[in-house]
Symmetry: C2
Subunit: 145 residues, 2 copies
């Protein structure tokens, strides 16, 4: 494994901790920056991006693209157990509320095998996100009928 971090700094540890505590959320670089500043650790945006870049290379966080503007967001996925776990299932993202959900289902896990065998395409499960509308938002959208 690459021991890319040689020094431990306040910014680095605070950033990682914040990501870990919000592992269920998608965080933009700006959100991370503001949050750390708010808890007493001012951090430059350049540092945020540099750290996120490193963490992504190490497999500790994952980068996603927002579907509206040309921005990105990141999510903590751990580097061992959780990463391996998330590598075995798909993710659902609600285009209304933006929530990201894990989709554990054997029935769906065989999709990758099927596509590889029948369609000659090796799906990267960890990078594939199903977009749609979650049950909660669907109810709000169509209160009647």
């Amino acid at each position: 494994m690459a021991r890319s971090s040689a020094y431990q700094t306040k910014q680095k540890s605070q950033l990682l901790q914040f990501l870990e505590e919000n592992a269920d959320r998608h965080l933009t670089a700006a959100e991370v920056q503001i949050a750390l500043a708010g808890q007493g650790t001012p951090i430059g945006s350049a540092t945020v991006y540099r750290q996120l870049e490193k963490l992504e290379a190490q497999g500790i966080v994952r980068r996603y693209l927002l579907d509206d503007r040309g921005g990105s967001c990141w999510q903590y996925i751990g580097n061992a157990e959780q990463a391996a776990h998330c590598r075995t299932h798909f993710h659902l993202k609600c285009t209304v509320c933006g929530q990201l959900m894990h989709l554990d289902c054997d029935h769906l896990n065989e999709i990758a095998d099927h596509v590889a065998a029948e369609h000659n395409f090796r799906i990267d499960v960890s990078r594939t996100i199903f977009y749609g509308v979650c049950g909660t938002c669907a109810e709000k959208e169509e209160p009647k009928s």
Copy 2:
């Protein structure tokens, strides 16, 4: 239907024609601009974006986000038959060569039904893309073994 186009211009028709002729590709705004310029129709980037925006609103093209940088690309999907067709199946995108493939398969089409029934999530098939590596690129990556 909104009759948003009142005038017919060279740029507009050429842009649409080019998109239609490359309906199997993902095109960036820059690619469209360069291609039209190359075939004798110089067009400003602002116009490209404005036209693509209108076409997207009309459902004639679809906008995707690139997974590397923070850029976008567009694909012609027609406004009737083809749109309906692509709405019924998933797409595969090779992260190596960037090619987009249509995935016609009854086995996969039931995925949306399954997720809706079992996981209370309404997948928007037209916005969901499977990322992975196509057979051709997989061979190139691993010539041995």
